[in-house]
């Protein structure tokens, strides 16, 4: 067992601020300070997001094994849930099939899942061209470590708007977010 934030209040506040910023400015990359060291394969960014956003009232699914399950249970108290019901998901390996996740309803689109997806690296460089709400013209984001069909799989959900899922990409202690309204063009 390893500790959570060194300063629980400031760590949670700054992580929340970073997620808020990256969801509001899709494609921007932010570093989470005071990101804790959690058991492998959970990376510091995903661990920090779990501590900041998950608690006993938010169901959580993760694919990283029992050491991570114990760490998350101790620090967040989040109840585990199956893939299609979980409010929050942490994918340390391959992304789960996005259409199987909770998508919310037309009356309650906010019930759609939030996926913390671990990737190898995030760079502000050509790779994906992002457009949509929160982006003035376009933003470049290069993501390393995602399966090739990911952008297409995500684009298939766009017609379901306002239902959908929101994704936060986590690399080391950096995050970038893809709210459901962002369009990705693979360049």
């Amino acid at each position: 067992m390893t500790p959570g934030f060194a300063n629980p209040v400031l760590g949670a506040q700054s992580s929340f601020r970073a997620v808020l910023y990256t969801l509001s400015h899709p494609g921007s990359i932010r570093e989470l300070k005071d990101a804790p060291h959690a058991p492998a394969p959970l990376n510091p960014a995903a661990a920090a997001l779990a501590l900041a956003l998950c608690d006993a009232d938010t169901s959580l699914w993760q694919d990283g094994g029992s050491a991570i399950a114990e760490w998350l249970r101790f620090h967040t108290g989040a109840p585990p849930a199956p893939l299609h019901e979980a409010r929050f998901l942490i994918a340390t390996g391959a992304a789960p099939p996005l259409a199987s996740l909770a998508l919310g309803s037309d009356e309650a689109p906010q019930d759609g899942a939030t996926l913390f997806l671990q990737v190898a690296a995030l760079e502000a460089a050509p790779g994906w061209r992002l457009t949509g709400p929160g982006i003035e013209i376009a933003t470049d984001l290069r993501v390393t470590g995602l399966a090739p069909g990911f952008a297409a799989q995500r684009a298939a959900l766009a017609s379901l708007f306002p239902r959908g899922i929101d994704i936060v990409l986590c690399a080391g202690s950096m995050i970038a977010a893809l709210p459901r309204t962002t369009r990705i063009e693979v360049t």
Binding site: M1, T2, P3, G4, P8, F74, H75
Partner: protein, 146 residues
């Protein structure tokens, strides 16, 4: 790995939680040395809802919220937990450290720390009980004679 959920452990956690920080520190000072510990969570202060049962054994109800301080430490691969009434962070941390140590205690830790505290607490309870007993009023009723 020893099984840590034992009545033995419940008893010592209960005794440690009722001891003040000063008592814990005093008993630790002349006890055997303990391995180093690392903080895992807290000490942090929060609220819990105390629950009671109607008439002592009936339907549960919310009695009151109360302030507690909890702490979890790691010592030699074991986790020590403590939750104490009140806001004394030092007390919670010391109790957690002792809880971790007592799961694999160095020689003498039990007799030097836990047993004296248990005896002192039992004595205090007995004194309170005696004082309360002295105020008990006996009621006598006479059955009507036919």
């Amino acid at each position: 790995m020893t099984d840590t959920h034992t009545p033995h452990r419940r008893r010592w956690m209960s005794i440690l939680a009722r001891a003040s920080a000063a008592e814990l520190r005093a008993h630790l000072a002349d006890g055997p040395g303990l391995p180093a510990h690392a903080p895992l969570r807290g000490p942090e202060i929060g609220l819990v809802m105390l629950r009671g049962r109607m008439g002592g054994d009936g339907a549960p109800f919310n009695l009151t919220e109360t302030t507690v301080t909890r702490c979890t430490v790691e010592m030699a691969g074991r986790m020590g937990h403590a939750t104490v009434l009140g806001r004394d962070q030092g007390q919670a941390e010391l109790a957690a450290v002792l809880d971790a140590a007592l799961q694999d205690p160095p020689l003498g830790l039990f007799t030097q720390v836990v047993e004296p505290l248990a005896a002192a607490q039992a004595q205090a309870r007995a004194l309170t009980a005696r004082r309360a007993e002295a105020t008990r009023v006996q009621f006598f009723t006479l059955a009507a004679m036919r």
